[in-house]
Amino acid sequence: MTASDPIVRIDGVVKRFGAFEALKGVDLTIRRGERVVVCGPSGSGKSTLIRCINRLEEADGGRIVVDGIELGDDVRAIRAVRRRTAMVFQSFNLFPHLTVLENLTFAPVSVLGMPRAEAEARAMKYLELVHIAEHALAYPGRLSGGQQQRVAIARALAIEPEILLFDEPTSALDPEMIKEVLDVIVDLARQERTMIVVTHEMGFARAVADRVIFMDAGRIVEEGPPATFFANPRHERTRLFLSQILEH
């Protein structure tokens, strides 16, 4: 496998919520190891798009192939895709009745069938990676938002996915906690992992993205490497968005 083989292929994907068309035919190919930032105004379909990649949303039209597996109605294919992808949510979605450690061992033990001791060793490794190992036995409710999101990142890493999906990982955080979470994501991005990050953090996009994708009204309007994307946006809509988001 070379660095250029596609790991995600999205062809003409359409998603409707009732009468509202959230995705109006999106085409996107992501290479293995590529770090992609998806941005756009709210309601542009960017979250819906990455939620379609691990089938948290079911596309109404088009094809999605992840790591060679086509998403359809086959439950086994869906679970196979989900084992290869992991999602970090805006609202963390940690399991409140489980300790931090148990949050991380849940999937390795019940999904991957790993022995508990091994799963715990793996969990501790990733908790150390996100600098929160000392809270392994705490319940998520005891942690700050930034700490919870770092645990959520570690939980996603614990299934050792091919692709990491981030759905506005810093949007629900207090400003002083955004940095600790972004630092962790930047560290991960430097390790050549395939990452698709929906975010408004343009500084992050500039620093680590291979490609920035701008969406509006259910379509990809513009994409390109951050250098050209930020310096020379081609579309008026992109320019307007960037001016709004960079000025505040």
Binding site: M87, N93, L94, P96, H97, V111, Y139, G141
Partner: protein, 346 residues
């Protein structure tokens, strides 16, 4: 002190009036109650004549009749078996309140204890005479039926609640149909149907025990109500929890059993305990199909014409038994809620 009194008892004209009225009531009622319950009461006598002459309560009726009240129609010389069974059950209930004991071993201990209690009631081994279920009665019957109802009803309720939220229309319709039908019928009716109608549909010669039929009826009735309680809990678990489990590749089973249900059940502890307490008291309806639970035993005991006029004392005694069990359950559920919430703010 004065300020505290004023704030709590005399803060407004209405409050002052209520305080005065309640104090007057207590002054009027208190001495009469003490006179009746203690001063003029007869605590021990074998002769109902002594009670008739007394001005107060006749607690002696309890001493005289407690065997029938507590053990119903069970053979008199075998009452110790019921006593051991009830002691076993209460010991297990107490042990279950200790968090440190919570493991699969406790579950095994429960199965063993229930088997032992049932075996004691049945007899027919080691020289214990066999006692048919039609003669079981009193507190052992109440406790066994209650525990059977909860042990069978809670799992069934969970299955029904999950079924009602299933993606499969057939399962959903079946669950809804079941819940709505049973909820639309009074328990008395369910019990009558269980005891009288089920045999009509069974083939000739097949006849299963009246007590077992009643137990089945109580489980079915309890589950229909508890299913709606559990469903409420399932709805209270945020969608993000399902999504987080799904996104990690969890199967529907793992998602349900390890992530959603533990949270849903914790949310519904108060209403579920409410249903459980009601199930305990509903065992008294067994009376109408001819089974003598602890209340039925008391009514039977009062058929003795010598003592029948002292029904108030007897019923107070039974009420006290019900109250102690129900209040303990209620207190325990509150303690459980607090201890489960510790360190987890949700």
């Amino acid at each position: 002190m004065a300020a505290w009194l004023k704030r709590n008892f005399f803060s407004s004209p209405l409050s002052t009036a209520l305080t005065v009225a309640l104090v007057a009531l207590a002054v009027w009622l208190g001495p009469r109650l003490v006179d009746w319950a203690l001063v003029g009461a007869v605590f021990r006598t074998a002769d109902p004549e002594d009670c008739r002459k007394a001005t107060g309560a006749c607690w002696a009726v309890i001493a005289e009749k407690h065997r029938v009240m507590l053990f119903g129609t069970y053979p008199y010389d075998q009452h110790w078996r019921g006593l051991v069974a009830v002691a076993l059950i209460f010991a297990m209930m107490l042990a279950s309140t200790v968090r440190a004991f919570w493991s699969w071993r406790l579950l095994l201990a429960w199965v063993a204890a229930m088997a032992a209690a049932l075996a004691l009631q049945f007899g027919g081994f080691l020289g214990l005479p066999h006692v048919p279920t039609t003669r079981w009665g009193g507190l052992p019957l109440t406790m066994l039926l209650f525990l059977g109802t909860v042990a069978g009803g809670v799992p069934l309720a969970i299955v029904l609640a999950l079924g009602r939220r299933s993606d499969l229309p057939a399962i959903r319709m079946l669950s809804i149909g079941y819940i709505e039908t049973i909820r639309g019928v009074p328990l008395v009716n369910v019990l009558f149907m269980a005891s009288l109608m089920i045999p009509l549909f069974l083939p000739e010669g097949v006849n299963f025990d009246k007590l077992l039929r009643a137990q089945v009826g109580m489980i079915l009735f309890f589950a229909a109500y508890a299913a709606e309680v559990v469903r409420g809990g399932l709805q209270a678990v945020p969608r993000g929890q399902y999504e987080a489990a799904d996104s990690l590749g969890a199967s529907t089973w793992d998602r349900t059993v390890r992530i959603v249900l533990p949270q849903a059940l914790r949310i519904v502890i108060p209403p579920l305990v409410n249903d459980i307490i009601r199930a305990f008291k509903n065992t008294s309806l067994l009376l109408i199909i001819g089974l003598f639970d602890v209340l039925g035993g008391t009514m039977a005991a009062l058929e003795d014409p010598n003592w029948s006029r002292f029904y108030a004392e007897a019923y107070l005694f039974v009420a006290a038994i019900y109250f102690v069990v129900c209040f303990s359950m209620s207190q325990y559920s509150q303690r459980l809620e607090t201890s489960l919430a510790r360190g987890r703010n949700f």
